[in-house]
Symmetry: C2
Subunit: 695 residues, 2 copies
């Protein structure tokens, strides 16, 4: 080990930080620092009611300082900067995930719905109050009976030409709006999604601006009284995010003016006639929903932030904490020098880089669409598919990283003062809200199947990956043409001659890409015979392939992460830093391949001998990276003031120094007792008594 | 799918319940029912201080009713029934994991230490107060600076012959006792582990009974004042188990009588001379620690309980909840009929059976040792190894099951009222306390290596598995002789001719057992050349193999689970039930093999073609088991009164019936609006308008 573990080269941490923080690095760092202010940060164990009020105050502080309005129109005091806005927003999780998500409810969902689904009248009437937080609001889409299947919500908005009003109505219990942030206490208005009915025709889901509470009356228990016909019910305690007042809403024939329909994609005239710029009800629905993609984009970025924080906490502790003696009988071994510890944490470090770098590409793409630079239908669809692939991987990755970090810190990891458990509790729901992860991966899988179906002459399922890669333009690896799976099988035999070849990015890319393509091709071939069957037959065939389709989508996401990581290496110019970053990218690639090694073996892409070299090369990379891990983590830019974890402050190192000082004093004064087992050694003629080594 | 999914046969649920609840089924069910009482159950969001007092009251209720004293001597009001005591104790987690763990601190750790490490004087003096809860106490072993490495704790107990006292002392900050239940508020005494020093010699870690708080003075903030020299510090909020007052303790030259040394394994005479029935300090240390194995045993059982509860909640919801339309355009599909949902939950159901059935064997073995029926040194060592293998697998399994269940329930899963998030938060620390899971698996791995080293003519690393299997005595599969890996490789070629053979238990056993044996053999061969090297060389070699050793230990644990599951099948006599249980065992075996498929391929144990049949057979088993899943879960014996989850009460089914009734009314009255897309169909000449299908 010692031979593999030379004194660490100093990396260009600043350059890595710039790479990770991306195009809006300044806004990101500014938000990160705001998130250390006392009025912003979480307080472990704070009772729910107080936590909710504290988080509302944090939002007011952000609104007052103009920190959260960058996505809104310049004319209304914003900056028309959707990408920069999200970059800053993501870092608010450093303060308290409840602050981030409540801000997301107010400005990312409620405000964005008015911005993107409304028109001039709504912007000028409603946005100022939303931007200033004068009107805290709810985004009332999900119903108790319908989560991911938004098209099937049952709340109705029926137009009454006599009064020029819509009547918002909840027909039964399953149609109550549920899990709605700001619904239980603070929200005084909501964007409500409902089936628009006029002249006896249901035109599908539309959004309506609906007042909820009577702000002319004083608050009772923190909330203004409900308006007539509106009922609210508290969702109560949750697994996390208890600073947000999630609740349920029901509407009993509640009337709102005709003009409260957010009518960018569908409007109702005074006579009740319906018009829309999009003829197909299906396409109209998906266009409306697509304006809300920023929720997924920002959860992806927030997951990267939290993963970085978790590693910063756990690795700092791993570098200081000692347990059991090993190579050196005079000193206990630091956790970071244990094989199991490296194996648990360093692959997560590599994947965290991959998650952040893919996120940066996703965010650039989001900005391109929403700043109007590239916003064709195809751009929007690609953005949605990219977000649907990135968000499940990153949110699950954050949960895995937090849990592994918490276990790696033992009992310390379980204490609230070290933050890992609190962050994990809050992040839990990221896996199922703003699109259930499994459902999102199915969407990605279906898109891959569609793309496969469209391209007959040539497989073309990696379109997303290509988009990312094309940005790197001149990368030689990209000139490698795609190959059919059948060719690939022949090729691996000759190409994969040695472990060295696993370091070849072209080889890594082909292994990752080939897996996606082959899985999709196999599923498509299995589904094809049933395409002309009955609905039941088609459903059964799809069901039988559903789990594998999700796996293919996951593999696609991992390919995208690899592409972003590889493209980003171009920007790393300092040689030592670049070498370490290549190792880190290799570790990401090889652990991803190792995770799916059975697939490569079953499908003849790797021989058994080559497969063994995957694991041995991973082990070698772990040893090489270990001395650089702390610098790779320093590049994240989270200091003790951001982490607020007692074990990430050097406290453990200080405790150990105190212990060593005690032992030195005992030795100097000859007051240390003799160990019984060393007495026995002496009797047996072994070397003389030794002093106790408590540390 | 329909063809594979016939009307379910009714299983013999009662017989399955008896099998699962095991030898002490009555005590188990009694404790389960006590755990529904209002004064016992958790209250989501209860502030920490109130939670701590409520849990103390729950313990008093248990003590007053004589529910928790069964392990103690009959002479003192106990029942000398260690196994039955643990069986009941495990079910307390149904009420509130904090109740379970605080009871574990009081009677399982504090009380057990006095019982097993003390002698007559300590039993008669201290146990009555401990059993009645008149003396709430702490088990002060772990220090901030030393968790798993108990031998290195730095607290000292130095004998002073002049006063016939031990002086308990904390020499520096890292030596503070930490994470100690009952230390922050309620504990008035503690068993403190410290290095026993007398006549200038350190005789290693011993246990001492030490008063902490002055019960003659009134409580302040719920706690009696500290005695002179004793300092307590609150660990504050934790990731879960906040009903327990964990804290830190420091001792500044605190004096206790000589007779407060718990002296079963080592005593100090009035002149300060030390004697012990065990000559070797190392063996003495491990003997003392081995008396505390019940903590690990009971966490294993509690993890099984929680896994069963999580599946009962999630599967009930999966059978009722509908989302998206599939085969039937008139009705949405229940979650349980989705391929991804089956894939996520049913393998966990199979593994939960395996966890419970191995636990039952572990508990029998524990009882054998502690009731004095089989308590040789070898019995105790085997018990420890078995517990060290079982506890990591079951605690991680519980966390995985809770998380998968929570995600499978979407937003509902995140609400505290559905319990999954609260249970998960509480269970988190089970992975690292009472022996860190990774450290325990290393111990198992080392034992396997030792056993391998001892047996030269024949591989014999599956001794534990054999113990379990021998209980099944007449099982034909056990007559299959063990084979060398090299033979096995040749054999698989001919034996594994078809998927059918994967159903052969002898085949399953060989695949699972061969993996453990081969991994251990490979590690042993790699370590052998370094055995005569320097300490640093040996440490480096061990470090390089550490991650794989942990994997081998995990594989060993899975083999044990499979053995227990297979042995238990003998007791299932009703043919339909037996058939389903065989499928469930097969699902456990095949998903375990599938998880490690790469290993079987790399090592030539399965051909690529055979490997494909593993996954296809798993898919077939999932379809076969799906109609029986609810009955398999009913056998767990957890009704709505135990689960206390709103979604496990039929509420979702009622909501859906209400929704369907609404649609029927709309159809009957002709008030349903026409869907816009169906209007378009009509214009295109397709079939006439249809009513909306909101459910």
């Amino acid at each position: 080990m010692a031979a593999e573990n030379p004194a660490p080269t100093t990396l260009d941490v600043g350059a890595l930080a710039d790479l990770l923080d991306g195009r809006w690095a300044e806004l990101r760092r500014h938000a990160r620092d705001i998130s250390t202010e006392p009025e912003m940060v979480s307080i472990p164990g704070q009772p729910m009611a107080e936590h909710r009020e504290r988080v509302l105050a944090s939002l007011q502080r952000l609104a007052d300082a103009g920190e959260v309005q960058r996505a809104f129109p310049t004319a209304l005091g914003g900056e028309d900067n959707p990408g920069g806005n999200i970059a800053g927003f993501e870092e608010l999780i450093v303060a308290d995930p409840s602050v981030q998500i409540k801000a997301g409810v107010q400005w990312g969902l409620f405000g964005s719905a008015v911005l993107h689904l409304g028109t001039e009248h709504h912007h000028t009437t409603f946005l100022p109050g939303i931007m200033s937080l004068a009107v805290p609001g709810a985004f009332a889409m999900t119903e108790t009976g319908h989560g991911s299947d938004v098209a099937s919500i049952a709340t109705t908005a029926t137009f009454d030409p006599e009064t020029q009003e819509f009547e918002i109505h909840t027909p039964y219990r399953a149609a109550w709006k549920d899990y709605i942030g700001n619904a239980a206490v603070h929200g005084t208005a909501a964007v409500v999604f409902a089936q628009l009915v006029t002249n006896g025709v249901n035109h599908g889901v539309h959004a309506f601006y609906v007042p909820l509470r009577d702000t002319s009356q004083d608050k009772v228990d923190g909330a203004h009284p409900m308006l007539p016909g509106v009922t609210s019910e508290d969702d109560g305690h949750k697994g996390g995010l208890n600073g947000i007042d999630n609740g349920r809403l029901a509407f009993d024939h509640v009337r709102i003016p005709r003009t409260n329909l957010l009518d960018r994609y569908g409007s109702v005239a005074e006579d009740g006639s319906y018009t829309s710029p999009i003829a197909s009800p299906g396409r109209r629905f998906f266009t409306m929903l697509s304006t809300l993609v920023q929720g997924r984009v920002s959860l992806d970025g927030a997951s990267a932030v939290v993963s970085k924080m978790a590693l910063a906490i756990a690795w700092r502790y791993a570098e200081e904490r000692r347990q059991f003696t090993g190579a050196d009988p005079e000193a206990e071994t630091v956790l970071a020098d244990y094989g199991t510890h490296r194996r648990r944490l360093l692959p997560l470090l590599a994947r965290t880089y991959a998650v952040q770098l893919l996120h940066n590409d996703l965010l650039e793409r989001f900005h391109g669409v929403f700043a109007g630079e590239h916003d064709s239908d195809e751009d929007r669809q690609d953005l949605e598919t990219l977000a649907a692939a990135a968000k499940p991987l990153s949110t699950w990755h954050a949960l895995e990283t937090l849990q592994t970090a918490r276990e790696a810190c033992g009992g310390q990891g379980f204490l609230a003062e070290n933050r890992l458990v609190g962050l994990r509790a809050d992040m839990d729901v990221y896996a199922t809200f703003e699109g259930d992860n499994t459902v999102l991966l199915q969407l990605v899988g279906k898109r891959l199947l569609t793309d496969y179906g469209r391209s007959t002459a040539k497989m073309d399922v990696a379109g997303q990956a290509r988009w990312v890669a094309e940005r790197a333009g001149d990368m030689a690896l990209h000139r490698t043409p795609l190959r059919r799976a059948s060719q690939s099988i022949r090729d691996w035999g000759s190409r994969a001659r040695s472990a060295e070849e696993l370091r070849d990015p072209a080889m890594q890319r082909e292994l990752l890409e080939d897996r996606v393509e082959t899985m999709i091709e196999e599923i498509a071939l299995r589904l094809r015979p049933t395409l002309k069957g009955t609905p039941a037959e088609r459903a059964a065939a799809f069901d039988a392939n559903q789990a594998e389709l999700v796996e293919a989508a996951r593999a696609h996401g991992e390919l995208l992460q690899w592409e972003s990581f590889t493209a980003a290496l171009e920007a790393v110019t300092e040689p030592a830093t670049r070498r370490v970053m290549v190792w880190l990218r290799d570790l990401f690639a090889l652990t991803t391949i190792e995770k799916n090694l059975a697939w490569y073996l079953v499908n003849g892409r790797l021989s058994a001998q080559r497969a063994r070299t995957v694991t041995s090369y991973v082990e070698r990379l772990l040893l090489r990276l270990r001395p650089h891990a702390l610098e790779l983590i320093e590049a994240f830019g989270y200091g003790p003031e951001h982490l607020r974890a007692a074990i990430a402050t050097g406290a453990e190192a200080q405790r150990q120094e105190d212990a060593r000082a005690h032992v030195r004093r005992e030795r100097a004064t000859g007051t240390a007792p003799v160990l019984e087992k060393h007495l026995a050694d002496t009797r047996d003629g072994a070397s003389g008594p030794k002093v106790a080594q408590p540390v």
